[in-house]
Each structure stands twice: as structure tokens, then as C-alpha cells.
């Protein structure tokens, strides 16, 4: 993905506050593809209309997809093997 328009996981703080009640930018995630484990703030984020695609900053595999529907927020977490939320 080299569209140059990506941002990073800091932008997920608001959208994912509808799903989790911890700060996701400080949370660590492990990529299911390459095993890299780092804070979600460091992930690459591609925003599309009504969705966010979150990619591993190390191997570019999809970590998660966030769909923003009118009645719900949906989260596909297949690419995330593990998540750690600091207290």
C-alpha cells in the first residue's frame, strides 16, 4: 500500500472508543502474519468511506478492519493474534 494517504493508529482512538473502553493507541497488538508486537498507535491506517483498514507497520498485513455502519461499529480482528491493554 503506497497511496501516500495513510495516517497511523493515533487516528483509531475515537472510532475504537465505541468498541473498547481502554485507550487503543497505547495498547499493543501482535500481528498474526509476522508476529511483530507493537503499540497500535504505530500501525498504518488507511481510511476509506465508513471504514478503516489497519496494517502492520512491519509487514503490511491487515491487522484489523473497522466498519462504521449507521447502526453499529464492526471490527474484523483476524489479523491480530493478541492484544494488550495497559491498565
Amino acid at each position: 500500500m503506497t497511496d501516500g494517504k495513510h495516517v497511523d493508529g493515533n487516528a483509531l482512538a475515537g472510532p475504537l472508543s465505541e468498541v473498547f473502553d481502554f485507550d487503543v493507541t497505547s495498547a499493543s497488538a501482535r500481528c498474526a502474519s509476522c508476529g511483530d508486537t507493537t503499540e497500535l498507535a504505530r500501525a498504518m491506517v488507511y481510511e476509506k468511506p465508513h471504514s478503516f483498514i489497519v496494517r502492520c507497520s512491519h509487514c503490511d498485513a491487515v491487522l484489523m478492519v473497522i466498519l462504521q455502519k449507521t447502526d453499529a461499529t464492526e471490527l474484523d480482528l483476524r489479523g491480530t493474534a493478541w492484544l494488550r491493554a495497559p491498565r
Binding site: K5, H6, N10, A13, G14, S17, T25, S26, E39, R42
Partner: protein
């Protein structure tokens, strides 16, 4: 939550400082952002994140640069008036923040309106009369395009070392180079890796990625380099 615009002012030819009155605002840390959500008459919604230049409770200050084809920033920089209502969510993000108790030296690196969250950190540092060494490297297109230029000049001194980079044009008295930040300029301006600084980099995505990779080449621990990218908004 609903916010009321209490004041706006032009900060640069394309950027505006916006003060918001947000009832029950819990206060924010230096470096946090909020999301602004706009709903058009046909129900279409667009939300964007904006860094907060203020710290703590009281009025919430944003500084927004206009992206000509953006969905939210043209409204925020050209249309809004005091008294207008905005839907906001925040404060958001606990990672790209500077906390007053931190003791390590701090290097701030901002490109364009990426200086906004760094401004909150500099304001908190100054308000606390903190002895922690702070350095700012700020890259702006021209002196007119620099956000908070006067306030940064006023804060510069023993507690805050400031290096300006102008990519197109400097102020009238400017005798330094004009042009994009290079690895060599970066190396000369920032706190050396050996001092193990906390580094905060914020700006457009290509700027942040170039700076972050140079910092690692210069020996900075990637874990101590925190980045925040923004795209077109």
C-alpha cells in the same frame, strides 16, 4: 458531545485557531486530540481528528490548516463563526502525550500544522516551569505559514531551544538556509541519541516517515520515537 465555538482567529493564510467551549470537558493531556464530526443535510457524516493546542480544562483550542479538497477542514477554516455548534469526541489518545512528571529530555519535531500537539507540550512545560530540557525543530513552508510563530519565539530561551526550517521563504531577517529538512540538518539540530531523549514527531505522513527513519539511522531507539501522521483532512 456538543461544543460551541467561542472564538476564531486566522493563524496563517490557510489556517485558523479555534477555541471551543465544551461543557463537562474533563481536561486533556498535552498531545491528545479530539474528533470533529460533521453531518450534512442529507445525513452524510465525516469525522476527522484534530490535535489540541491547549492543556488541561477550560477552553479547548484547535489549530486547523485548510486542505483544499478536504471534507472537514474547509468548513472549520472558512465557514464557522463564534456561536456555532460542533459535535466533538475526546480527549483521545494516551500514547502521543507528554506528561509533566517525565524527566528525560524532550525533542519535538513538527512539520506544518503538526506543531499543534507539540504546542500543548511546550505550553505545559512552560506553565510548570519544568527544568526538563526541551528542543523544538519546526519546519514550515514560509514564516507566514508557521502556526504560533510569535508564541514559540516568546517561549524560546534557556528552557526551550528552537530551530526553524523554512522550505520556501523565511522572515525578512532570515539568513539561514531555505529548503527541505535534510538528515544532516536534523542531526545537527536534535538532542543526540546518546542523551536518550523522548522524541515526538508530528506532521504530514511523508515528513514524519522521513524524519523517523533518519532518527533511527542517527542511533535513536525506535521505541523512544513517537510519531503522529496526518493526511488530507
Amino acid at each position: 458531545m456538543a461544543a460551541t465555538v467561542s472564538k476564531t482567529s486566522y493563524a496563517t493564510p490557510s489556517g485558523r485557531v479555534i477555541e471551543l467551549d465544551v461543557p463537562h470537558w474533563p481536561g486533556n493531556l498535552a498531545g491528545q486530540h479530539l474528533d470533529v464530526r460533521l453531518t450534512s443535510e442529507d445525513g452524510y457524516q465525516a469525522a476527522r481528528s484534530y490535535s489540541i493546542a491547549s492543556v488541561g480544562s477550560g477552553l479547548v483550542e484547535l489549530a486547523v490548516d485548510r486542505i483544499p479538497d478536504g471534507e472537514v477542514s474547509p468548513y472549520l477554516t472558512m465557514d464557522i463563526m463564534p456561536g456555532d455548534q460542533l459535535e466533538v469526541r475526546g480527549p483521545l489518545g494516551g500514547w502521543f502525550v507528554w506528561r509533566e512528571g517525565a524527566t528525560e529530555p524532550v525533542q519535538l519535531i513538527g512539520g506544518g500544522s503538526g506543531v499543534v500537539p507539540l504546542m500543548a507540550m511546550m505550553r505545559q512545560h512552560a506553565a510548570a516551569a519544568s527544568a526538563v530540557p526541551f528542543r523544538l525543530l519546526y519546519s514550515a513552508r514560509t514564516d507566514d505559514d508557521a502556526f504560533y510563530a510569535k508564541e514559540i519565539d516568546d517561549l524560546a530561551g534557556p528552557a526551550l531551544d528552537v530551530t526553524w526550517i523554512y522550505t520556501r521563504k523565511g522572515p525578512g531577517s532570515w539568513t539561514g538556509p531555505i529548503g527541505r529538512l535534510t538528515r544532516e540538518t536534523l542531526a545537527a539540530a536534535v538532542i543526540p541519541a546518546a542523551e536518550n531523549p523522548a522524541v515526538f514527531v508530528c506532521g504530514p505522513t511523508p515528513f514524519v516517515e522521513a524524519v523517523a527513519s533518519w532518527l533511527v539511522e542517527l542511533g535513536h531507539d525506535p521505541a523512544r520515537v513517537k510519531t503522529e501522521r496526518f493526511g488530507g483532512a
